[in-house]
C-alpha cells in the first residue's frame, strides 16, 4: 500500500504546508509519512479543523515512496519550489528550495530511441 503525506495551503499567503503531529510544517522533509491508510485518513479528518478555522485551504493526501519522495513529479516540484533555472531573473525557488529535499528519482519512463 502506498504511503501518504498530507498537504494544504495557508489561507493568508498561500504557502505550501505539510502535516505533522496534529499541526503544520513548511517543508516536505519535516512532514509526516503515513504508512497506514487509516492514519492518513485520520490526519485528513483532523486537518479539517484547520480548514474550519480558516487557517488552511485545499487539504489533500498524496502518495510517497518509502523514503518519503513523492511519487508524482507534481508533488516533488510543489515541495521543492519551481525547477526553473534562471539565476538572473527568477529568484523564486520558494522557501522549500532552501530546505533539504529528497533526490529526484530516476525516470523509468523516458523513451529510448
Amino acid at each position: 500500500m502506498a504511503r501518504q503525506m498530507l498537504t494544504a495551503n495557508r489561507l493568508r499567503d498561500g504557502a505550501v504546508l505539510y502535516w505533522r503531529g496534529g499541526g503544520w510544517v513548511e517543508t516536505l522533509a519535516e512532514g509526516e509519512v503515513h504508512a497506514d491508510p487509516a492514519a492518513a485518513d485520520a490526519a485528513l479528518a483532523a486537518a479539517q479543523s484547520f480548514v474550519a478555522r480558516n487557517e488552511v485551504v485545499g487539504t489533500y493526501l498524496f502518495d510517497v515512496q518509502p523514503d518519503g519522495t513523492p511519487v508524482k513529479e507534481r508533488e516533488i516540484i510543489r515541495a521543492r519550489g519551481p525547477s526553473v533555472r534562471d539565476p538572473i531573473l527568477r529568484k523564486d525557488g520558494g522557501k522549500q528550495a532552501a530546505a533539504p529535499v529528497p533526490p529526484v528519482p530516476e525516470d523509468p519512463y523516458n523513451v529510448s530511441i
Binding site: G14, V51, R74, D86, Y109, V111
Partner: protein
Amino acid sequence: MYRYDEFDARFVAERVEQFRGQVARRLTGELTEDQFKPLRLMNGLYLQLHAYMLRVAVPYGTLSPKQLRMLAHVARKYDKGYGHFTTRQNIQFNWPRLVDVPDILADLATVEMHAIQTSGNCIRNVTADHFAGAAADEIEDPRPIAEIIRQWSSLHPEFSFLPRKFKIAVSGAAHDRAALKFHDMAVEIVRNGAGETGYRVYVGGGMGRTPYVGYVVSDFVAKPDILSFLEAVMRVYNEQGRRDNLFKARIKILANALGADEMRRQVAVEFEEIRTSGTLTVPAEELARIDAYFAPPEFEDLPDDPADGADGMPRDIPGVDPDFLATNVHPHRAKGYCIVTISLKPIGGVPGDATAEQMDALADLMDEHGMAEIRVSHEQNLVLPHVRRKDLPAIHARLTELGLATPNAGLITDIIACPGLDYCDLANARSIPIAQKIAERFADLDRQHHIGELKIKISGCINACGHHHAGHIGILGVDKKGVEFYQLQLGGSGAEDASIGEILGPGFGKDEIADAVERVVEAYLTLRQGPDERFLDTYRRVGIVPFKNVAYGQDLHAAY
C-alpha cells in the same frame, strides 16, 4: 491611450473596496472557501501549485510608462521582483499573499489597471494586434473597437455567467498577429466592395482539448451595428452552450455542432431582433470619442533612407546589430519610423519574464524618447510601436544593457511557453525548462537565421495556454503515471493561414524532446526547397511522414 472617465474610475475603485471586504470576510470565516473562490477568481486571483497568482489585464496589450512602472512596483513590493507576460496580453504575479491583494489592486487602480474578468466564465481581457496603430499593413487601429467591446462586456449582466470563459481578439491588418481564428470570437477590420470599413466576425475557434479553427459568421458588419452583432452571437451561445459538460461548454463545441450555416442563421435572427429594438447602436460621437484616445502620436516628417530595402526597412544602421535589424525591427506606417520587438526570450531565460528593474528601465527609455506606449504581444514579448529610426542606435544600446536585445523575434528560440508544472495547478508537465533546453540547443544565431521563421509553442497540459496547437512545432506536456512526457505536433499556425498541428506519435521523455525537435529541424533543412521556404511551408508540402521517421531516430527516408 484610453483614459478612465469618472464612471470607470469609480467603478474600479469600488471594486477594489468590495474585494478588500471580501478578503477580510474570508479571513474571519464569514465567507467559506467555496463562497470566496468565485469572488477571487472574478478578480484574477488563483491559488496555484505553490502560492496565489494574480493575473492583471493589459487591455489590447497597451501600457503607458506609468503603468509599466506600477507593474514594476507590484513586482518589487508584493512579489519576487518580476512579472510574467502571458499569451493573452496579461501579466501574472506568481507569489502574492492573499492579505496583500487588495492593496495591490488599489495600487493598480491608481494607474487605471485592474484584474477584473481575467478569470471566470465571462468575457476575458480583449486582446489585439500588438502592432496596432503602427503596422504598415493595417486598415485601421483595432484598439478603439477593442475598448468599446471591453466596456460593453465588463460586468455585462447577461454575460457574467456564461457556460464557459469567452475570449475575443481584434485586428485591423491583413496579416493576423492576434491569432484571430483561435479565439471564441474575433473581429477583423475589413473594407467592403464600396470601400467602407467594417468588421468581419469569426466564431468558434479555440485550442484546449478540442481545437478548432474559427469560421466567418459575418463577412461584413457595419460599424454602428457591431455590438448588436456580437451580442447576437453571445445570446446564441448563452442559450445553447453546453452547461452540462465542462469539456463541451466553450462556444467552439456549439459552433461545430451547429455548423456555419445554422450558426449564421441563428445569429442573424438574434441580430435582427436586437437591431430592431435599436438599443445597441454605437453612436458615431461615442466612436469618435473613443477613437480620439487612440489617435497616433504626431509623427515627424522624417525621410526614408535610400539604402532601405524594398519593404522600407533599414538594412544597415551603424551601431545597431544587423541581426536585431533583421528580426526585431518591423515596417511602420510612417516614414522614418519603425516598430521594435523587445524579446523576452533570452537564451536560457524564462519566456515572458521581465524584472522590476527592466520594467522601470523600459519606462525611462520610453520617456527619454517620447514614446507614450509599449505593447505586450501574445507571443510573450514587448513591442515599442513608434520608434524613430534615428533613435534606434540609442534604443538598441540601452536594450542591450538591459538584456532585452536578443535578436530572435520569430526565430526558433522565440518560444511561447505556458508556466507549466513549475507553477500551474492544472499542468501535467513542465514547459519552461523544455523551452530553455530547446533555446540553448539552438542558441547559435547563425543557425537560427539559417533555419528562419519557426514558431515553437509549448503547453504543459491539454488546456493549451502555450498555444501548442498553433505552433509550427507544438509541444504538449502530458502525465503518464506521474511522469512527464511530451507529444510533438507539427504544422500548426496561429496566423491568417491558421491550422491545427498534427500529432506525430508517441510522446518523448523530458530528456528526449529537445533531441527530437532538433532531428525534425534538421530534416526540414534537408527537405526545404530553399531558404525562403519556411518550416511550415515545407511541412505543408511534404506532410508529416518524413518528420515522423526522423523524430523517432530513423534516418530520413531515401525517397526524400
